[in-house]
Symmetry: C2
Subunit: 516 residues, 2 copies
Amino acid sequence: MNKKGLAILMRTKMRPLSPAATNKFNQMQIDPQEGSNEASFTPKNASINTQREFEQVREFMHSAISMNKTEILDAALSDFSEGYFSLSEENRRKLLLTLAREYDFDRVQVRELMKQYLGLELPSGEKDQDSGHVEELSLSAFYRIERNLRHALKPNYEVLFERLNTHPGGLKFLSTIRADILSFLAEENFASLRALDSYLKEKLSTWLSPANLELHKITWDDPASLLEKIVAYEAVHPISSLLDLKRRLGIGRRCFGYLHPAIPGEPLIFIEVALMKNVAETIQEVLWDEPPVPECEATCALFYSISSTQPGLSGINLGKFLIKRVIDVVKKDMLNISTFATLSPIPGYKQWLLSKFASAARSDSTFRENLLKPEEEKALLDASLEFNFGKSGMEVMHYLLTSSNYEWTKSAKLISVLRTPLMRLCARYLLLEKKRGKALDSVANFHLQNGAMIGRLNWMADRSEKGLVQSGGIMVNYIYRVENIEENAQSYYSKGHIQASSEVSCFLEDYEKAMD
Amino acid sequence: MNKKGLAILMRTKMRPLSPAATNKFNQMQIDPQEGSNEASFTPKNASINTQREFEQVREFMHSAISMNKTEILDAALSDFSEGYFSLSEENRRKLLLTLAREYDFDRVQVRELMKQYLGLELPSGEKDQDSGHVEELSLSAFYRIERNLRHALKPNYEVLFERLNTHPGGLKFLSTIRADILSFLAEENFASLRALDSYLKEKLSTWLSPANLELHKITWDDPASLLEKIVAYEAVHPISSLLDLKRRLGIGRRCFGYLHPAIPGEPLIFIEVALMKNVAETIQEVLWDEPPVPECEATCALFYSISSTQPGLSGINLGKFLIKRVIDVVKKDMLNISTFATLSPIPGYKQWLLSKFASAARSDSTFRENLLKPEEEKALLDASLEFNFGKSGMEVMHYLLTSSNYEWTKSAKLISVLRTPLMRLCARYLLLEKKRGKALDSVANFHLQNGAMIGRLNWMADRSEKGLVQSGGIMVNYIYRVENIEENAQSYYSKGHIQASSEVSCFLEDYEKAMD
């Protein structure tokens, strides 16, 4: 799960217990014999109640999986989802582990089928079309066991997923379940829960394939209940006021979302676009500067925010398809637009940089990597002479970047001294720092896997606290060149190759020379 | 594939080669060196061209499966589907066999994984939750191989199906492909093609799950292009004229269809409903009698026709969900409607009866089963005295039922003599004749598996040629009692139990007594 997804997840609240459900559960929990002494609600009783609550929902879950009569099934599915939402976090974890472990498939049967299969002799000339008929005969035994095996390998919990998918509200509920699974897995790694997650993720990505999603242009004429979701889930540049929202949906701006018919009125993901004369260098230009350029003068569609509303869909890349669809729509709509770019945060940069400083400080001086070039080192120490921020350039930078209120942003001198090393190291972070062959930065990884290239680093592009905390205020433009999207995505996917403009690569040449 | 499905399939034409595609293919086929002698279009050249055409489309298919760049992929998918439609039936068969055989999965890899898996030791207390942690560790190896195995068991052609599903027009194309597969399988049973079919069928039923379908009330205000489909695909009671269609969509009538967003303007299946005072006894009342009763006086919703438009979806029961949805909608809409019933044909009755007569005629007289009761036998022979239709009751019946122009329907006496045995044997056919535990009659099987019961047999209910050919004019009312639907469906599914009214069972008691 990427950091952004996690950040969204942290903000979603568990759905509060509805009054109706509370009543229902209280009625079931209170033993008639104990009904009178309501005052004795001791922790022990609470724990008994919690246990009963768990057993109750577990029972609902069992019915939802094993029932065959659809009339009653609908009620069982509703009971289960209502019951689930009423459970404590601990009970949800227990329930999901129960689902993962006790509703798996029959391993004995699978082993039996495998033994049968391995007992069959592979037809020799499998690719030889001439001996078609003999082969067809001998293959039919294979086909039969293979088919049985595919079915035998399906866990029993698949039934629950399938049934919920066709139950009103079920798809959204499945996404909630997956969000819970992910948050439990972040705390502790259960193999069975991970298997459950990977199965559910695959199901969800089938059901949410772009063919089933509708691209919706979100405007001020949309229902408030939908717009409210945009405000709630905007994860990149929070919407400050109704006026702010209205501007983001007004002239010179676009907002598009993907809707699924089973989750009406709530885009799964949405993107905000600004139509501009040039690729913006600061978020200020996009969010606050007025008025927007006349749309007929715009040549660039700038994607300045993309947010997913469903933490349970983490790892299912809807953004890629959304961006491509939006590019298509905008291109058809506005012939004067020829550049498609983002203005993106670099959420992991400062954290990475500080950890680099820390590890340099810890290591032996002989092997210590000085991240700074001599002239940068000198400039930093000179600038801090009067304040004594630290004994080395890295210490000075560390001090400035972590000082409260970001005092350095108020001093033209400090800004200018920090600029060179911060920009250079940022290029290094984006272009060279990887994890399992992919860009370490989650937003970079997102756009690169979608086929974008790194276009330009922008200094002091986001002076908001969030911008300064994440990346010292630096933002980056990723460029989507329609003709290169697939090629870029492919070479990033297979070789981890990151496309960048010469302007950005320049920083790196400096770095490489310094390392020589 | 049931008979009805087959009947529809027989009527669908291969899409004719579009002029554009013809040009394209001609350009590719004509070798520049041979380009001048256009006159020499001999069978030999034709066969070479056919072979080239096949190779071309096979190449398209290969690209559509192996390409990774989505920009080009869209073109590859279009090329493939356009090319496919241009192929001769023989080439389509060859192509589908190629797909089934050469784009299967890697059996060597699957065997390797199985061997690894069988080498693992099953954790002993698999269901014991206390030893959770030890178990989690040992299970993770299982989960890993199981997951790999699930993927390894996916044939390579799945990629093509998945890609087509998200390609505009692809879902419909897949349904065409499946219709072709089914018609090839009806001619000859290829194990590989059958495996392909079963895989595609599963995919299609996932994609066409009722959650993805929209219930649409079809009215006279719908586009002509949609209504045209209703006329073309009405498989039960052909629509004779625009007036007929208009009446079926007018007062006292309803028509509902299931639409999929990826196949716009073309219901996958539709049902026609008449709102009536009583459950109709003849199709005449429904189709021709005027005027319909005022809707406020109706107490019965009669389903008089259900037709699927996609032979490629054969075996995927959308009808069941459609009927249930329609019952829900009508119930909510019209509180006075309390009975839901069909007036259905019995398409296999006469064919079954004639084959029974034939086998009786062939068998030795000692073992010969006389399908007729003594009084029926006598009445038939008496009635045919003057014409000498045959020497036994069964011969007389055979003669009458197969005589051209159905002369018997013009004689009150013959009608009355035939009525008793035909009705009685019809009850036997519907209630007792089975194939693999299911009702032999395809329409009966359809409604019984949906949870209906057999309510009433209606004599001379359909005097159209089709009605007389199929069932000697008898029709049957299946009754949907909302409160029993699931129970009936379940007991039919698991035990082959057929629910019938006492009125219909009566015929059977007679039969059983006669057999004693």
